[in-house]
Symmetry: C2
């Protein structure tokens, strides 16, 4: 179909204000934070901004009848090309549809449209003493719809799990335009074992099975207190041990973060004032709960970790907590500035590995980096084994771009060899589907058969999450990942 | 196929020791705890007890090629006919396959075969200071395989969620005999967003999509302390308010249980020594965590609930806790003995309703009971709205059996009308699939299309969870439910 006709048809459905087709508009929808999007431009044919289920349904019916690909998009803060129209077609921008429809505090839940910003939601919920626990780094910009589609998590997954744990139900527009409600039509129950669990199938499906148009989330009482503990280690192997010993002590912190020597160096170079101790690793524990609990656990974790660490500091003072956390807060930015001519790339950056393989994995990643002559900054959620490994290259140098891609590939394969997976929270998108066969074996065939069943024409975000059908080895032809 | 041939073929696959075909053996596999099984005998054609993935796979290939139904079974402690061969065929008893393959304490997880008993697992895990939090009433007998298939929960779901929250991966034998591993082949990671979430699709699928042959569970540090608070209310409406007020106070107890006046009466008649105060409702809060936290929360919950309740008692003394809990511990048994000539039936017994509709629902259930002249004993997990409503009838009286079924139907429809669902934890099985269309609307079609995709010959536990295909209204022809 010619773009002109496509635009006209969509204008007829949505009105012209909700259809973007100017070149500059389209260009601004052609990238996300991924390395792949840095090396390619995936310009959609048209962008639309529907704000009702009816509009989404009409568009999907039209797309289905005309075999046009549709890629849903939240804030575009992803790192996997997940919201880019890599095969062209329609990008459906859902970020403007940001209504919190009902905070049902009496039933500990909220209903909202996909475009609500995570931080905004928690600000509103705080008025009721409630919160939605997952805490992605992109909280200030990412949409809850995007979080559901990617099953996002972040700093607090150790104790609070990932987004899926809170999704009670979804309204979904299927590829053929039909509208379903998962988790029970008109349901406000918290516990529900009726029927197949479609809700959790859609969570993390990255827009490949349908468009999420409404979200019902379970909420938790907001804890009244928190504290931060910083521990400094002279031996990398002590770091995972210091995680495990705390668990053995019967304590589940809300988060446990690591900065290894590469991240410590990056932070000190970026902000010398922070002046992190030169060490093999720094761990940051966040403890939350009631005030008595936080005090008790702070003392206990200090004692347990103190047996291993060179230095431990514990604080519940807001000012000091913020100082202790400062190094972690700037790590991502610091990693991006390790080299004058360099930039941190989002490739091979989200591995999730078993806790007892963290030390070995980080050492091997250091070696792999050396082999390619590329620095890798390691930090992230050690409490659940989800480590962010950030290669830093000169993205203007085609040779380094090639080396960066090869390095990311080795990191991914290392994660799988270590009994881990290529992605703990950022997702698969177009950049990691080539590992699907290795990661899932025959289960990939079941995933593909479900995809075919729900999306027989393969119009929902094609080329994402699963390798394209007909590609028996599950390898991808995508470049620059 | 003649049974004789079927038995011979299975003996050839498994050896004769693993094939049961004596009438008495088959009879002992013809019931569970459900009301429906009381009124019907679903005798399987043959029972097998495989103890390897290879055996299960061979049987499924054989069953697939010969169009024979297969019904997986754990301990048979269910209340929905879920593990009964209601259309005949093979019952696959997985309870004898009870190996804990590896407690991987370093990675906070365990791998096991489906027949492991829940209480037995937690006994073993306690040696490592770990536990698997869900706590079904049938803990001493139910299998973890059954818990996964039914997404079981129990007393601690308020804080710890249901079984699904802990399932990291499954080995599943598909209806055609193929073996897949969900959550990553050889994976030991805790966090994983790679691929479609097949794990959570199989959890709660009640044996309708495949046979679960291996389970990988995430574990939690076992909390070091707990306490019990009992609160007595003269007005039923105060009970849900006393739940909500505690949440508003920033506290999430591990469990909040209710006994309404009907349950209090039942307990006092069954065990006069327990001598529960005559009241409209009794709430029991269980608080767990570190010792300081439990003390703080015990005092705080006492204060909050004390503003509403006629009487509050809080204890961390093991002896006193056990006394306070005693009434709740015997409720199910007491309910079964409310009448000399009567028995508690498992029908309409597991509704899950929004917290703000609990009072209204319990009052209406009392009225419905009166209309039918049948007493209903109400108790259960008010913290998440999952109330067990136990009708007590004379099961030998055909007229009462009919009335009991009609009453259960009204309770189920009431739950849906209140914004709830017919089952919070016991499952659908053969006894609640007639409500699927009302509960799920068009989403039921998607569930059925997934069922068709994975089980094209409809041999996996047919007649369970979803209404049979071709039945457009989603109504069931099952009797006595």
């Amino acid at each position: 179909m010619q773009n002109e006709q496509l635009v006209k048809d969509l204008q007829a459905i949505l009105g012209s204000a909700k259809v973007l087709s100017e070149k500059l508009d389209l260009l601004s929808y052609s990238y996300d934070s991924s390395f792949m999007a840095r090396n390619n431009r995936f310009v959609p044919d048209v962008v639309i901004t529907p704000t009702s289920t009816e509009e989404v349904s009409k568009v999907m019916k039209y797309a289905f009848n005309n075999n046009i690909s549709v890629t849903p998009r939240g804030a575009g803060s992803g790192e996997t090309c997940g919201s880019l129209a890599i095969q062209g077609g329609i990008v459906m921008d859902l970020a403007t549809w940001d209504t919190i429809e009902e905070i049902d505090a009496e039933n500990m839940q909220v209903q909202m449209r996909p475009g609500v910003i995570h931080a905004e939601l928690n600000k509103r919920l705080a008025e009721y003493g409630l919160f939605f626990p997952p805490d992605p780094g992109s909280s200030q910009m990412c949409t809850v719809g995007g979080m559901v589609a990617n099953n996002s998590s972040g700093l607090r997954a150790v104790k609070y799990g990932t987004t899926e744990q809170y999704v009670l139900g979804l309204e979904v527009v299927l590829p053929n335009g039909e509208v379903i409600v998962t988790g029970g039509v008109n349901c406000r129950a918290i516990k529900n074992v009726s029927g197949l669990n479609l809700t959790k199938l859609f969570v993390g499906s990255e827009g490949t099975l349908g468009i999420i148009t409404k979200i019902r989330l379970r909420l938790w009482p907001k804890p009244k207190a928190r504290g931060i503990l910083m521990a400094v280690f002279n031996d990398l192997e002590q770091a995972p041990q210091a995680v495990l010993d705390v668990y053995k002590g019967g304590i589940l912190p809300s988060g446990i973060e690591i900065l290894d020597s590469s991240a410590i160096k990056a932070v000190n170079e970026y902000k010398p004032d922070i002046n992190l101790p030169n060490a093999e690793a720094i761990l940051l524990y966040e403890l939350d709960g009631n005030p008595a609990s936080v005090k008790w656990e702070g003392e206990e974790v200090s004692r347990i970790v103190g047996l291993l660490a060179a230095n431990v500091e514990w604080s519940t003072d807001p000012q000091r907590m913020s100082e202790l956390w400062q190094g972690r807060a700037v790590t991502a930015t610091a990693a991006a500035r390790v080299r004058e001519d360099g930039s941190r790339i989002f490739a091979g950056e989200d591995i999730s590995i078993p806790l007892n393989k963290v030390t070995e994995s980080l050492k091997k990643i250091k070696e792999i980096g050396k082999k390619y002559g590329i620095g890798v900054v390691n930090y992230g959620h050690i409490g659940d084994g989800n480590v962010h490994t950030a290669p830093v290259i000169n993205p203007e140098d085609p040779e380094e771009v090639k080396l960066g891609a090869a390095l990311a590939d080795e990191i991914h394969l290392l994660a799988i060899a270590m009994g881990g997976v290529t992605t703990g929270e950022h997702g698969v998108g177009a950049v990691r589907s080539q590992y699907a066969r290795k990661e899932h074996g025959a289960a990939l065939d079941v995933m593909q058969s479900i995809k075919r069943t729900l999306d027989p024409k393969n119009i929902m975000n094609p080329g994402k999450l699963l390798p394209e059908e007909g590609n028996k080895h599950g390898t991808s032809t995508s470049s620059g990942s």
